[in-house]
Amino acid sequence: MTASIQFRLINSLVEIFRPIINIGRLLRDCWRTSRRLRELGILGMNHRNAACILDYNPRCNFPIVDDKLRMHQLCRSIGVPTPELFAVFRAHAQLRHLTDALADHAEFVVKPARGSAGRGILVITGRTATGYQRQNGQVLSSEQLSQHLSDIISGMYSLGGRPDTALVQQRLRLHPAFAPYAEQGIPDVRVIVYRGQPAMAMLRLPTRLSGGRANLHQGGIGVGVEIASGQAIHVVQHNRVLRYHPDSGIDLHSLRVPSWSAIVAMSCRVAEAVGLGYVGVDVVLDALRGPILLEVNARPGLAIQIANGQGLLTRLRAIDAALARQDCSSRTATDEQAQAATHDAQAQSATQARAA
């Protein structure tokens, strides 16, 4: 009798304290998870902002990467290939010459220079008798195309609605090496460059689900790529690990990005030229021209870690350590030179004194 009362009492006490126990467990789990993430070297948003972007990306250099026209000019000057620029429209009046300017080009891409998230981009795949054919089959008349360019110039697609410049660029073609992996759209390679060194890379494959856009958010596939070889090592879609392509069923681990060394070298060169210490460089492989720089992102996202199944922080620390080592060794080298110089000077003064 008493035993059962005691049992009930203990039970009710446990019931009373259960929420507190649960909260305690939750906090403990959170703590363990964050410790484990730290062990795995996962870079968090706060750490990225405070230690990478704020420390290595001076704000004054952001306008270069945000403006596609300035990026194009910069790449030309350092010899990095970018999509060929067919025409630039800065003012509404220039649109009168639209048909003349585009007379030689059957296919092209129209972009706002300061657009974001792919807004305002128009892909023209060919010409029909009535006008320009879009990627999705829709046919635009010359007036409609002119209207779109006019919208871009008015700033409808730019950040903050500021007047913008409309660019007409070469349309990039799918590289044959990627043909089995992408039914529609063009895959791109994202390389994170930290203090001039490549830190991590991934390949983004568009799928049917993502509607031909290489955007992980919208269902694109993220393929973690070995930084030294361009070999696929880890594949995710919507944060879930994959092995086979959901559209074609092809084994994604067999993928190896062609011209990999050129892509990495190009990324480093561009990162150095824009003067930012932590950037995501987006490169596209063109069927004819090979690797072509698409754009540079001054605030690259963290999803690349999920695509690689690895933490970025470990790599950044390794780069920091290696640069510090190198800095150290070069400093000792200069110290030695300085010592040698003083030694020479002393010897000289000694011989002078002796001569006197």
Binding site: T33, E39, M45, C268, G309, Q310, A318, A321, S330
Partner: protein, 585 residues
Amino acid sequence: MSRSWLCLATAAMLAAASIVVLSLRFACMGWQALMPTGPDTWQITLVAHGRTVSADAQLSTVAPLELPTQHLLREDCSSEMLDCRAVDADGRHRRRHIWTLRPGQETGPFHLRCEFVVSLYPSRSQANRQTSLAYAPPQPGEYVDSELHIESDHPEIGELARAVVAERSQVNDQLEALYRMVSTEILNEPTVAGESRSALGCMRRGAGDCTAKSRLLVALARNRGIAARLVVGLTQSGDNTHSPHVWVEAYDGQRWKPMCPFYRHYGKLPRAYTIFTFDDPRLVRGRGIRHLDYGYLIEKITNDADSVGQSWLARQFLATSPHMLAPAERQLVEFLLLLPLAALIVCVFRNVIGLHTFGTFAPALVGLAFREQRYLPGLMILLAILLVGWLLRHLLDRLHLLQVPRTACMLSLVVMMLLGVVLLAQQLGYSATHYISLFPLVILTGMIERFWTQEAEDSTAASLCTLLATMAVAGTIGLAMSLTAVTRYLLSFPETLGLILAGQLLLGRYTGYRLSELLRFRDLLDSTGPPAPAVACALPNGALASSNGAGTLPSGEVALPDRIVQMQTVRLINTTTNARLGANL
């Protein structure tokens, strides 16, 4: 010193400084810091009850005035049936509280209670530097005319006044003579309901209560061309419950001279004369209310021993305390003090928890706007307007408008909707401004725009999620800010702002994970790294650091083969970076 350490040191210094000030204040003032009661502080309690008989029943009560001689430290008004709203329209002569039925509340018996804490000062003391319009010299023609119950131009009054004043030419002498006559020759009587209390009646009967005697004195003074007025308030007499007391102030050319013909004080009143209003002796009045009854209680809550103001430092703390501000300024300061705290809460939500909201401080402002509980139905209206606005935004999108004119259009549409809500509420018999604080209007426009942008770029679900997070943050802030203890604490110890700033600085260099990231990266927890060869990272001088070579992983965690991959890449990168490093050196 690294940035984080510098930040930590700054935060520590700030925190230390504010803790020092805080403890110093506490050491000097003790618990007085929470409510600095002067040497002479009184608590006044008003209780009223009755029956509302119509839906538009309205009750108005008068609160103590903020004057050079008295400072209102605190006021709390509460009732279960009625909503209270302070009306300061005529703050010079009267501060009123208007009580109306809560929406959805049936007519019936009600009960209300107000508490005021008032500090009184013997004269224009250093503690209260408020200049008050009520004590400015009277305008020509002000306070000299005859009015209802003060028949100053009646021949009998004139006769008496002339007889009393006689040959005296000085205003002061005239006033003193009139006061002496009323205070000594007119008998004191208790207040009896239904009795006429006019000046003339009092004179004819030769007796009257405080109201009647004061009216007579005012009428006599005005008859002689001296500006005089009734003062209505409370004073302490023997027992504990009090009806309003009435006395007189007359302008003698330099100042308003107080005189109480009932308790016989001239020129200088004893303590505990709390001024509520001028001219109108009725402190509580109702419309659509039956069986109204009310009573006042006035109690002293300090004795002279425990008053502040002993040391110089304590006096300085007292003089600079936000508690000493006039009620309107104090409310503003309360709001200002809450803003940094709300911003800190936003920082926690965004950088520690990792919630995305529309706008950075928009949820804080919305939360602050709705910190009063009676605004909660307004929050529902706000949400409804947000959703309707979002639908309208979809319609506007077809027109392809430029951003700024589009936002302007949205603002106009939001104003139209709000106008509709206000007019509809009027039709239903509610006062909408009572439930909607109109100031988060512009924030609302911005929120609709952001809602639409996110929907277009991501999905409706993501947009709704963000909206939910925004409302959660706003709700938390609103709840935290609605605690009167928080407000009172901040008002008593404004140096806490230093601690809040220190907290913000620390969060500014917080590089740990956000709670949401624990979820986001949860799949990485299971994998101990991909079954791929070590990923080598190319570095200058042929140095290759592999991801597990840096020693950050504990031994046995991820044992990847320490393979060095020699490649063309390495050479390529080496040449570029070496060239750069060489240039730098």
